[in-house]
Symmetry: C2
Subunit: 222 residues, 2 copies
DNA sequence: AAATATTTTTAGGTTAACCTAATATTATTA
DNA sequence: TAATAATATTAGGTTAACCTAAAAATATTT
């Protein structure tokens, strides 16, 4: 019985209510999730069906063992994402909190572990943390202005992946029509002196690009 | 006109079809998203309403300028999450691809930029990358066995946040009833010799915990 | 205890996102 | 070109997740 994201949210809200106030009531869960009480009743009945809560009308909502487990796990995921945003990426707390919700539903054990490890790594290696902070700062200020390299910066034999095609609409259209589309892998076959033209292979086809055109193609080396 | 996550997915699929095959057809979009053609028609009509695609029945689906932009942005977010999972966290490609989808809808500019910066940072600093890889390995093998510290490991004046309460159900119940609930902040007021008992303050209340109990409370220093 | 207020529940409605099955359209091939 | 196959569209149904508004149950005052 896999829960929907929404039901997982309800479970978590109930978990927090239980923790904060000792018990969870329809009204408070409703307020916490910003929905109407009737929606909570509906959700709780579904959770009851699935065996995650105990509930008799009029009574408090209480989590069963499996319910506790799911809620706890979801909460931990939430926490780790928050920690990552806050401590590693340096997103402001409030903003981090907003971003966090939603992501915790898309994590599995491996992701969770890896993210935890990363948080710890940064925590234990303040030099790395410092270094990254400086790096990110200059990145933000546009000093590492273009995050992706362009095709003209590579040489014979390099295998690249197209990220984006820039330039005016007409040129872009033309390049895309040639198969230079985001995600496409290309191999540089030959670069003429002074970088013009550049011959590449993609999907088995050969293509010759002017340097000006090559400059419009953002790529990533693979 | 904010799009739903689902419609953003349709937009992205259309984008990729256009890029890969030069044009997007209902059938192919359906296959790509693993839905029925009728669902695609419905979604496309909604996208048309919202001004993101041009579509006359029987014809191909084509993105408008705003449609292109949204699709491109979503794709870039997807890519950066993928890059992060793959290059930084070391999740295997296939698995990373699965995890990626879903997350790209929960990102904003700041998150995107920070994550990009992190990927670059790791790329440019292979020593850091190496170091983390080793760290994560030992972490995975349980050598950094417990990711969270426990309450008994801290001293007077430390401010902590409760992460989890472990122990048998009975003890857990009791500790939680005392207010030691996940997320709760506590301050250590006094630690008796040999660490037993530990006095803490939470929500303005004083609490005295046996060392055995303190060991059950996973915390994080804040 | 009666009156009032609060909370919970039910009943019935809406929307997005799917579906199946039938029909219409467009392509392909005999 | 007629028959067949492939695609696309429509019509109508389902489910989750919301809602409003009214009714029922509990609590709280006077």
């Amino acid at each position: 019985m896999a829960l929907t994201e929404t039901l997982e949210d309800y479970l978590q809200a109930i978990f927090h209510e239980e923790n904060e106030k000792g018990m969870a009531r329809v009204k408070d869960v409703a307020k916490k999730l910003a929905v109407r009480a009737s929606s909570v009743v509906e959700a709780v009945n579904r959770l009851k069906e699935a065996g995650y809560v105990l509930y008799e009308k009029g009574d408090f909502i209480r989590l069963t063992e499996p319910g506790q487990e799911v809620a706890q796990r979801t909460f931990e995921r939430n926490l780790v994402v928050y920690r990552f945003l806050d401590q590693v990426l340096g997103v402001e707390p409030e903003h981090a909190r907003k971003l966090t919700c939603g992501i915790e539903h898309h994590m599995d054990r491996q992701f969770f572990d890896a993210l935890s490890a990363l948080c710890f790594f940064f925590e234990r290696n303040s030099d790395v943390q410092e270094k990254f902070r400086r790096f990110a700062d200059s990145y933000e200020k546009g000093m590492i202005c273009d995050m992706y390299a362009t095709l003209d910066q590579f040489g014979k034999g390099d295998t690249l992946k197209v990220i984006k095609v820039s330039g005016d609409a007409f040129l872009r259209q033309r390049l895309i029509a040639m198969g230079l589309t985001p995600g496409q892998e290309i191999v540089i076959e030959r670069v003429a002196p002074l970088g013009d033209p550049v011959d590449v292979v993609l999907r088995g086809y050969h293509l010759s690009l002017r340097k000006e055109e090559a400059k419009c193609i953002k790529v990533e080396k693979i």
